[in-house]
């Protein structure tokens, strides 16, 4: 059984079935891509995993335990972190503080802070150091004290990933991390993602539209269309799959 496993999940909004019978698996150290045309349900799958929605049918398990139906913050505490399709940073907070938020649930007790105990001081310096380390990892040290909304687009995308990492996840969900970035930034991003996988042993699930990135980085790819899984497997197989081609390019005209 895989570390993160979706089993035949279905979700409907009123009369519209957004996701139907979707199964997915990710293990630590794996890079799995999720692709499909717009509206295929990719972000919805992310929202199911992270607890924004609960599936109408089917189960989601993390390390054998069911997480479907749990509140989002509980799921994050169990080790799943995400970035958002439209960047959702904390706009007026500094880059440093954005990352610090990721650590906050595990940052000691508020009572210690109020009383000014030595434990509080130790927590402050420890977490401060970890935040700075993460910022350095993502080339954001220079922008440490700048408000998140003043950062360049590429920097914001990097900050979102840094913030997600601060939560100490075992599985990382990246929703279109390369959207709107330059080719140079994309190459850097690919290197960074691979490095994260190797260094932290993370399982990484990526939604992307850039086919080159997906084909180069991912070991496995799952293809969604109209809420259903239409193909899954190694990049080479996906590239040649007739249904995938049809989903993206339309049916063959004869």
């Amino acid at each position: 059984m895989a570390f993160l496993e979706l089993d035949a999940c279905t979700l409907s909004f009123g009369g519209l079935t957004a996701v139907r019978d979707v199964s997915l698996a990710v293990d630590p150290g794996e890079l799995v891509g999720v692709i499909g045309p717009n509206g295929a349900g990719k972000t919805t799958v992310f929202n199911l995993i992270t607890g924004v929605y609960a599936p109408d049918r089917g189960t989601i398990r993390l390390n054998g335990q069911r997480i479907d139906g749990l509140a989002p913050h509980r799921i994050t505490q169990r080790g799943i972190a995400r970035t958002f399709q439209g960047i959702r940073l904390f706009p007026t907070m500094s880059a440093f503080d954005n990352v610090a938020v990721g650590y906050s649930p595990r940052a000691g007790h508020l009572l210690d802070a109020v009383l000014g105990t030595p434990r509080a001081a130790e927590t402050r310096s420890r977490i401060g150091a970890e935040c700075d380390a993460l910022l350095k990892l993502f080339d954001l040290t220079e922008r440490r004290d700048d408000a998140a909304r003043t950062l360049s687009y590429g920097a914001q995308r990097r900050l979102e990933i840094a913030r997600a990492l601060a939560t100490g996840p075992k599985v990382l969900l990246l929703d279109e991390p390369a959207a709107g970035t330059t080719p140079h930034e994309k190459t850097e991003l690919m290197q960074r993602i691979r490095w994260l996988r190797d260094h932290f042993g993370l399982g990484i699930l990526i939604i992307e539209h850039d086919m080159r990135m997906i084909m180069e980085m991912c070991e496995r790819i799952t293809v969604l269309d109209h809420g259903e899984v239409i193909a899954g497997g190694a990049p080479a197989a996906i590239r040649a799959d007739a249904r995938v081609i049809e989903a993206y390019l339309g049916p063959e005209q004869t």
């Binding site: 972000t43 929202n47 924004v52 958002f84």
Partner: protein
Amino acid sequence: MDQLAQQLVNGLAWGSIYALIALGYTMVYGVLRLINFAHGDVYMVGAMSAFYLAHALGFAAAPSLPGFVIVMALSMVVCALLGALIERAAYRPLRRQPRWAMLTTAIGVSMLLEFGGQAVFGADPKFFPQLIESAPAFRIAGAVVTNIDLLIFTVSLLLMLGLRWFVYRTRAGMALRAVSVNVDAAALMGINVDTIIAMTFMIGSALAAAAGAMVGLRNPKIEPLMGLMPGIKAFVAAVLGGIGNFPGAVAGGLLMGVSETLVAAYISSTYRDAVAFVILIAVLLVRPTGLFGSVTVEKV
């Protein structure tokens, strides 16, 4: 049983007033997502301007129905202009700011109208001229419906039907509905959003003015703070019906009027004002979208 019917008539009369004011709240919330705190005070200005107009135009000395109608219509114009002014000066500059900014400004405008009213009109109550002498019009189920109450019902109904015709049968009304659903998309379709919003304020304020003038006729004691409680009650009525929903505002207003009248009659008159707050809390906790409102889900 006679008493119940009479109370119902009273309740519906007040309910019609609340409905007219509630429509203004709901319209503005629909296009701006703003709770216009100052709206209840526009209703007060409506009553006050009707008062002064009645005296200035000589109708106070020579009461008549047409006289009242003219006075009411003119005060509607006055308040429409006031509404447009408020929107242009106090709310439009803040459209791109966080929500609490416009809300706080609305509170400021409300305070300005109240305290300004006290300074300009004098804090003492005035007595609205008896432009129509109250007389029983007919009896129904043992209750007496006066000519004034009949006027209130008729005028309210006509205004509401007129609004409905406007919103659903004219292009401007369609534009209003479009702006209520999605401001940016409406702008992209070529709708002049600024004009539509200004128009919304003008219509809402005119309705409030009509309510104010009619209240002056029914309960002649008017003063600068008279908009406070009816404003809150009408707002609760709008929330009860589903904020942004026009029929809901009307239903909410009537329900509010009837329930508070019945509570005052059968339980205790000191709790009359509390009814609004109880309904408010109940609605917000049980069904925040109101009776007829629809739930909007945030896309993640």
